[in-house]
Amino acid sequence: MLDVDLHHGASTDVGLVRKVNEDSYLVAPPVFVVADGMGGHSGGDVASQMVVEEFERLAESYDPARGAELVADAFARAQARIVDYGDAHRAMQPGWHAGTTAVVAVLVVDDGTTKWLLANLGDSRIYRIVDGRLEQVSVDHSVVQELIDSGHITAEEASVHPERHVITRALGSPEGIHPDFFLLPIGSVERLLLCSDGVTGMIEDAEIEQILESVADPRDAADALVRAAVAAGGRDNATAVVVDVVGLVKDATYDSQRQLESLESKLGGRQ
């Protein structure tokens, strides 16, 4: 695989209110991670960094044929480290906790073809641009998302719901971790965005779409997203990783045949 060329950009900002940036990210193609830590200084920042370190290890000896298994292993190692770290602190400070969300994108080979394997724990998000439109791929592990799923509230009500910041799954949880996985054909992703809720909580999806559609360079797009989130108030740490699949011809057989016919008719060839 990995005849696929990936261009990427990443940006992070502490925001205007918080003192510590507890977000961490990893860009180690074909492995991309954003983690949003919780627990304050030397808590959340350490937890999110532990996730990044475990995925760095994964990237060092990555086997795309075993993608799902390796990602699950990296999650398990990160979980074990964060729980140990929390236990060590709790011995001195009862009630101390650290945890982190994580969103992960890796390229895998499934059934002989290259695909995106995406994984999610918590309320950081994965979006894609498909057919020129923004679509949220991951489903938040949050109380309000569950209320939306069960039909109790609408997405609009969720943005002002009192429990909108309460997440139901995270690394560091003593209940164990249950990441959601997603497998997408590489041709169905024109551009991929991994971001923390410091981005999505500050700017609307329409603005995210506008930026991802209008800013060509993924480095500039990641910067623009984080700047927009900070400009909108910067109430939380904001992190964005943007990945473009470069040089991909979608559905080659169909398109090339049509293009050939169209070219021939324009050139007055076979009619």
Binding site: R18, M38, G40, E146, R169, S173, D180, L183, P185
Partner: protein, 361 residues
């Protein structure tokens, strides 16, 4: 009285409006959303009571309702909950006597109310408007900062007592337990290093453990919310993720042969969503030069319940549909989203000349 409220996590639902709180056991989950709608829109106690009773009393064995207005506190208790009311006039326990519909009481000059639903947890999580999972709810002045003056029984427990609940039980067996001193609130949560005063006005609060607390004073921790998981379709068992033995084999016209030991997704460019690492679906890409086949067109998975042991097929809302021909039956279109049990010999036609024959594994 101050209407500052606190709770101990548990199974019960607390629907908390500005002045009215309704407490319901886990079996009454279906009523929670409608009540929250009302409570959030500022409905009065009577309106909430109306809505609560609209479904009939016979299915509502237990509930409690607490309403505060400027000078009086109204309490209704049915079934198991008990409430301890401390007021300038003394302390009372409100509980429904066996055989009665409910116990109701209006008290003025209330200093604190403790409603015990299950257990004797220490109510040290702040309860704000919204829905929470609780076992104990307390209103009013915390016993530690200002012990009720009227009753010795509500004086604060010794701060040093490491096991206030055990001490209570030993000292006050029986119904007096409800009137026993409230346990000391646990030490406040600490995040990060000592002296870390990160103001942190936003941020997530995992509810995965009871004492994961918030840092912004607005959100609140709760018990794990297994009950909020997406409910299964009524009358349908949840399908197993992966079965040890394939229930069928799928022979594709393209030459692929795929065993149905887990979910199989078929399409022009199929996408698999929200699976766990141990149940990754088989994703089968089929050619569709005329785009007759949708990107994720058809799902085939091992059946559960009545369909146990066979494969079931569901058209996932494809643009051009799926035709199924079962042996001895007329060919028919699959209805989007409706699972059909497949018998060996069945043939599925997805369009663009792609067919799938179902055989024994």
């Amino acid at each position: 009285m101050r209407t500052e409220a606190r709770f101990a996590p548990g199974d019960w639902y607390a629907v908390v409006g500005d002045s009215v709180t309704v407490l319901l056991p886990v079996s009454q989950r279906a009523r929670v959303a409608a009540l929250w709608d009302l409570a959030d829109s500022g409905a009065a106690a009577d309106a909430l009571l109306d809505a609560l009773l609209a479904g009939g009393l016979s299915s509502l064995d237990h509930f409690a309702l607490v309403a505060h207005d400027d000078d009086a506190t109204r309490l209704i208790v049915r079934g198991a909950p008990t409430a301890t009311v401390s007021s300038t006039g003394g302390q009372e326990v409100v509980a429904a006597a066996p055989g009665t519909t409910w116990a109701e009481q209006v008290t003025t000059g209330v200093t604190s109310v403790r409603v015990t639903l299950a257990g004797e947890g220490s109510a040290d999580h702040p309860l704000t408007a919204g829905v929470a999972r609780v076992s104990v709810v307390e209103y009013g002045t915390p016993s530690t900062s200002a012990p009720a003056t009227s009753s010795g029984a509500s004086a604060g427990a010794p701060a040093a007592d490491p096991r206030p609940e055990a001490a209570e039980a030993a000292a006050d067996p029986g119904p007096e337990v409800a009137a026993a001193p409230r346990p000391e609130p646990a030490a406040p949560m600490q995040f990060g290093a000592p002296g870390d005063d990160d103001p942190t006005p936003t941020g997530e609060t995992p509810v995965v453990e009871d004492d994961w607390s918030d840092r912004d004073g607005q959100t609140q921790a709760g018990a794990p919310r297994a009950d909020f998981d997406r409910p299964p379709i009524p009358g349908q068992e949840v399908a197993p993720d992966v079965v040890p033995q394939p229930v069928a084999s799928l022979v594709f016209s393209t030459g692929d042969v795929v065993a149905v030991d887990r979910t199989v997704l078929v399409g022009r460019a199929p996408e698999a969503r929200r699976f766990a690492s141990h149940d990754q679906p088989h994703v089968v890409t089929v050619p569709s030069p005329h785009q007759e086949i949708s990107s994720t067109h058809l799902e085939i998975r091992p059946g559960a319940g009545a369909d146990h042991g066979s494969a079931i097929a569901t058209d996932l809302g494809s643009t051009n549909g799926t035709v199924v021909a079962q042996p001895g039956l007329d060919a028919e279109d699959l209805k989007p989203g409706i699972a059909v049990s497949l018998i060996p010999g069945a043939v599925l036609d997805l369009g663009d000349g792609v067919t799938i024959q179902v055989t024994n594994p």
